[in-house]
């Protein structure tokens, strides 16, 4: 027996804190602020929340969040591992919990002092003997110890195989930055760049340079999920979850899947995409806009291929045709993405995807957005969700 989750649940509230480089407050403070904003947006009270879901990486404990907010009894709480791979993974958990009646209203949140606190660019190291530390130990002695370095290894291989050049990486960075320039909440509000500026940035790990990399930010984001029925009575138009899936594909490692037959590929996202489409019967042609996880520019290309907007190796052509721009085939990362709005581990992406379906993005495309895609981080077990308007 297959239980369908399609159209059973809806995103009814979204919220972001201010994004900054130094929040001056605790991560717990950011978490509860983001959740309060999302609940206000929905017209709900903390007492209505009976489920919470976040990242294993998040430092804000569920019951501390619940106590701080004044939530009622929690009947569902869970966490999703693998960094940004958890972004839509939290939605996956919330949807299953609400669709099966384990909870009625679940909040997915993520809050981090990613610039003033622990910085991802600092790399991984440590003296504690855990499986995780031993895993990184295969790479740290050689100097391969940052997310940029791991992604660079896949990118070099992908460019070698597909013929993709830095022209396509520039187009991703440039389009995203232009979107941020219109977004007052974005770090790069009003700050566009040209090719000369892009080319003059410092090298990070070949072939990636500074503007191919996302920011490090302080901030929190939250989304509220409840039943589609209940969504109809709330303050905002509900945004239906049509399909949501995640996958850890065979023989993968966390960020370092260097041992599979081909490494210039993200089979876990291909599989999650296939599942999400199959759940609801939508096809790539039905998707009007997208928020594609953009910790680095090249990972946007691979995901376009995974979700069927073009064939393998053709994503460079797709973006160079203006495919990601507001008047293009798939307006993407209209908030400025993690490259240029803020890096909140992809939950700010779910916020933007919901806005696109509501019709309230600061860069709302002229065409009607009936369905939007939002994805999680890649290189790790990952996934994505297809959102749709309520009829």
């Amino acid at each position: 027996m297959t239980i369908s989750v399609t159209d059973k649940t809806a995103i009814v509230g979204v919220g972001n804190t201010e994004f900054s480089k130094n929040s001056g407050v605790s991560e717990l403070s950011l978490a509860v602020e983001a959740i309060r904003i999302a609940l206000d947006d929905a017209g709900l009270k903390p007492g209505d929340v009976d489920g919470l879901c976040t990242f294993t990486m998040d430092s804000s404990d569920e019951i501390e969040v619940a106590r701080a907010l004044g939530c009622n009894d929690l009947t569902f709480y869970s966490r999703v591992p693998y960094g940004g791979g958890a972004a839509t993974g939290t939605l996956h958990q919330a949807v299953m919990a609400v669709a099966t009646g384990m909870a009625t209203t679940v909040v997915c949140y993520r809050a981090l002092n990613g610039r003033s606190g622990h910085r991802f660019s600092g790399g991984v190291s440590g003296d504690i003997i855990t499986a995780d530390a031993m895993h990184w130990g295969w790479y740290t002695p050689y100097g391969l110890m940052t997310p940029a370095s791991w992604v660079a290894m896949f990118t070099q291989r992908y460019m070698h195989l597909s013929g993709c050049t830095r022209d396509a990486l520039f187009e991703v960075a440039w389009t995203t930055r232009n979107h941020a320039a219109n977004n007052p909440a974005a770090f790069f509000h009003n700050r566009t760049f040209d090719r000369a500026e892009y080319d003059s940035q410092k090298k990070i790990c070949d072939p990636l340079t500074l503007y191919d990399c996302c920011q490090e930010s302080d901030g929190g984001s939250a989304v509220v999920i409840t039943t589609a029925e209940r969504a109809r009575d709330l303050r905002q138009p509900g945004v239906l979850v049509k399909g949501v899936a995640q996958c850890a594909a065979r023989d993968m490692e966390q960020m370092t899947s260097f041992y599979r037959e081909e490494i210039a590929a993200i089979p876990e996202m291909d599989i999650a995409a296939g599942q999400a489409y199959a759940q609801c019967g939508l096809t790539p042609d039905d998707i009007d806009a997208a928020v594609i996880y953009d910790a680095f520019t090249p990972i946007v290309l691979w995901q376009l291929e995974s979700w069927g907007f073009c064939k393998y190796g053709e994503a460079a052509d797709f973006v160079l045709d203006g495919g990601l721009r507001l008047d293009g085939r798939l307006p993407t990362n209209t908030h400025g993405g993690q490259l240029s709005e803020a890096y909140v581990h992809g939950i700010n992406g779910i916020v933007e995807a919901a806005r696109l379906v509501r019709g309230t993005s600061v860069n709302q495309p002229k065409k009607s957005v009936q369905h939007a895609l939002v994805t999680s981080g890649v290189g790790v077990p990952t996934g994505g969700a297809l959102l749709g308007a309520m009829t």
Partner: protein, 323 residues
């Protein structure tokens, strides 16, 4: 600092903004050929328009000029400053920072603007003011404040010839930096940083111990003979937990690679290339490619590995281009 103390501190430092560090004062030497020649020699700047009168006369400049980037030189104090630091407003401000623990100081950047060329005989006057102090910033050196000063350079007729914005960071040094500074005068030798080692546990210690002995091993399933790397406790093909290993000949090709530019980590030698190597035995291994220009590394390049001592405490497989 409590929020109240921080506010008092910030209010106090902000009173320095706009104040003069030094009033308009004539430089110790007017623009002259001797200092220009010495500066050009030290900097390795061979442009004859600074030193060759005939050339300069024929050039678009119509005569000798001083190198524009020498601008700051004409207002400098001279060597006495190193022994007897001047007690000026800037130093007074820095002491306020020092007292709150912001004892670190780092020049971060300097912007110069040039209004006209200076020629031998020109008099240069400098006036320096504290232009701004930032809000508190979290930097990689620690929490701190950026202080910007601006020096305006004018000539004998009072016309501006250029100006300089100089930015320094006053910061709270982290513990390691403080310890190093405290120990600097003592004889205790600070250990040179080495590469970050892998922790060693049940599943990987045997592999790293072999590397310490100069060998790279590949784990092999005793039941179905499948090779696997990195090591793990069970064979994914037949689920056997019995294993032994073979020694790799360390021959193979580059499957993918990246040159690491940023961040540069103490204990590592740059340029630094990391690569996924396809070993001829059939498994892959991440290691460094050395012995060639990083620009010459390509996917598919044949390589030969050797286990080497890369620093005082670290043995690692390193791969060289194979002829």
């Amino acid at each position: 600092m409590t929020p109240e103390a921080k506010k008092d501190f910030e209010d106090r430092i902000q009173t320095y903004v706009g104040r003069e560090i030094s009033a308009r004062k004539r430089g110790l030497d007017d623009v002259n050929k001797v200092m220009v020649r010495q500066w050009c020699e030290v900097m390795g700047d061979n442009n004859p328009v600074y030193t060759d009168e005939e050339f300069a006369a024929r050039s678009s400049k119509g005569g000798l000029i001083a190198p524009p980037t020498m601008l700051q030189v004409w207002g400098m104090e001279g060597y006495s400053m190193a022994n007897e630091p001047k007690e000026d407003l800037q130093r007074e401000l820095h002491k306020i920072f020092d007292a709150q623990g912001y004892s670190g100081v780092l020049g971060t950047n300097c912007d110069l603007e040039f209004k006209r060329d200076l020629r031998p005989g020109d008099q240069v006057y400098a006036r320096e003011v504290i232009e701004s102090i930032s809000e508190q910033k979290a930097t990689s050196r620690g929490l701190g404040y950026f202080i910007e000063t601006r020096t305006v350079f004018t000539d004998q007729s009072g016309e501006e010839v250029g100006n300089m914005k100089f930015r320094v960071l006053k910061f709270v040094p982290d513990q390691a930096t403080q310890d190093a500074a405290a120990g600097a005068g003592e004889s205790e030798k600070v250990a040179a940083p080495t590469r970050i080692h892998s922790p060693r546990g049940h599943d990987n210690a045997w592999w790293w111990e072999a590397v310490d002995q100069g060998k790279v091993l590949i784990q092999r399933c005793k039941s179905c003979q499948t090779l696997r790397h990195p090591p793990r406790p069970m064979c994914g093909e037949c689920q056997s937990m019995e294993w032994d290993s073979i020694e790799s000949a360390l021959q193979g090709t580059v499957f993918s690679f990246t040159q690491i530019h940023y961040p540069k980590v103490p204990g590592y030698q740059y340029p630094l290339v990391c690569a996924v190597i396809s070993l001829n035995e059939g498994t892959r291994l991440v290691a460094n490619v050395v012995g060639c220009d990083p620009e010459d590394v390509t996917i598919g390049m044949p390589v030969k590995g050797v286990v080497e001592q890369v620093d005082e405490a670290t043995m690692l497989p390193q791969f060289y281009p194979a002829g």
